[in-house]
Point group: C3
Chain length 241, copies 3
């Protein structure tokens, strides 16, 4: 498979390395672009359209076709717009505990009020309008399946998240009419969003995909760090025809 | 244990072979009758009562007693009526991602509107009023844990499903008063019904059993093909006293 | 870690032995006090405050500090009150399929009506106002992942449960204002409470903890008997910093 992995908030493409290594060893071609505005030192003043364009550019400049396009978390909002731009390049979409937005919604519309308030407050308090992840939330609710050392080591690799893409309302009419096959990977211990019907990832997000394939594994929102081989296996099961 | 496995829609008794082999090797007696109207070449013009009678006949003609009676999916509607007819022969009921109907309901009453519409449309379009499973649904939502070759190979073994038993309303007053012990096996990746409180298998179906035993395993609606040994283990855990 | 395990209804501290052995072998210090009014021969005429006090006394008399304080099931109502009394001794709270009560509620307020009725009826019929666990419920809904011999052997170790602590309304204002870190262990086959949004353990109970860490394992409400090593591993993952 030719797999393009689109990271989530606070991440960059480099952080996929452990997962990408397992996939490459299994014979797959893996691309891990960094979304515009992400990473240490990047200009955080980007909007959602610019984030999307940076991934479209990656696909077009390398002329990537037959792509299994995976989005993690916030990355789900990106791949939904990328496939609108270049549907002919995408063989299958894979959402890994990712946002699948309804037409006209923002990511912010899909998180609980206490997260919305926290993001707005952190953004307002930052010099460049970005949002940094507080460590206690990272440790307890994002990487709950890791030990403290892993939580600390990986936290050092994170970078502030641009805020504007969280609140941009997305036109997704074309996306919801596309027939590209799609899969959803759900980590059963992911509590980055509160579990349950109202705010949980699955089936709230997955059910918006219409006919989709479900793959589930044990793990937290950050299983890419705590069990990268397990996630690589799930990506293969989700991405194959 | 003496186990009678009652298959679901589009299946026949023969398709249990991999599961039955594991159970027999573990020392159990296994029966895999085919429900009336099921299989290639069978007359599809049957109703639910005839389907039930064919399984009752199997038990009575072989004088089977102390039976662990398992129903898969649609097969759940059958075993609920079979046990009404011959409760003295049944030691325990096991529902594996199966329909547990309320009194007066049909299977059709328990599936989402888009499935009801699809079944009605496929039945109307067929020569004998039967419903064939579309391959994309099979591949993504029924056997989501298998590879494409397994999905294709098993699809070839399916046959059109009689439609009348889907819409027959069942009198289940006696069933809901019986005290026969019962278990529910839930496959955690089964999306043949949309996951969630409104349409999901568990706990929507299981909770209708009153006091019941839950056994859960990883797998899709068709784990009998993708991991037959795992399912055989679950059947033993669900069926034992 | 220094771990204090607070048992649930019908149990005593001794019943933790298989789990405690695994934890000790992994280098942890383990305490397994018995809650007042619990055990064969104990005076069942206790209220919730007396139950709480017995565990506070255990911590204070041994001068235990930096404690990972775990409550199982009913034990969750105890540790929430214990930490109010001695917050400086508690490093982290761990709820294992345990009740997390809202301020002013009783355990009884948090179980389905048919359980409330059963408890009241069994208590009224007993000589000392206690509630014994009926074997069929134990076998099917509490230890559903064990075989019959295990269900019978462990049932012999149970003892009648004091009823008053089930119905005492608890003032938990202080608890809900505390910042002590907390974790929730959820066994995915636990049907001691009916699964689902209305009555299930998770996320109904876990979500009341605010920011918490989730650890999930396969197993029933009584996995301490059926897979003690698995539970010990989950306790370590839930209890570590």
């Amino acid at each position: 498979m030719r797999i393009v992995l689109v990271h989530g908030s606070w991440h960059t493409g480099e952080l996929w390395a452990p997962v990408a290594d397992h996939l490459k060893r299994a014979g797959h071609e893996v691309h891990t672009p960094t979304v515009a505005g992400h990473g240490k030192g990047a200009d955080k003043r980007v909007n959602h359209a610019q984030c999307t364009q940076s991934i479209v550019d990656h696909l077009v400049q390398r002329d990537l076709k037959d792509v299994v396009l995976l989005g993690h978390s916030y990355g789900g909002t990106i791949i939904s717009k990328v496939v609108e731009a270049v549907p002919e390049r995408v063989r299958r979409l894979v959402y890994w505990n990712a946002f699948v937005l309804n037409d006209g919604e923002s990511l912010d519309d899909n998180v609980p009020p206490h997260f919305r308030a926290l993001f707005a407050q952190l953004s307002a308090a930052s010099a460049d309008g970005s949002v940094m992840m507080p460590f206690p939330i990272w440790r307890e609710a994002f990487i709950n399946d890791g030990d403290l050392a892993t939580a600390q080591r990986t936290y050092e690799m994170l970078s502030p998240e641009p805020y504007q893409p969280f609140v941009d309302k997305l036109d997704l009419k074309k996306f919801h009419g596309l027939q590209v096959p799609r899969s959803f990977i759900n980590c059963t211990e992911d509590i980055a969003l509160p579990p349950g019907a109202e705010w949980g990832w699955h089936p709230r997000m997955s059910s918006r995909l219409g006919l989709y394939r479900l793959v589930q594994i044990a793990g937290s929102h950050e299983v890419m760090f705590t069990a990268p081989e397990r996630l690589a296996g799930a990506i293969v099961d989700a991405g194959r025809d």
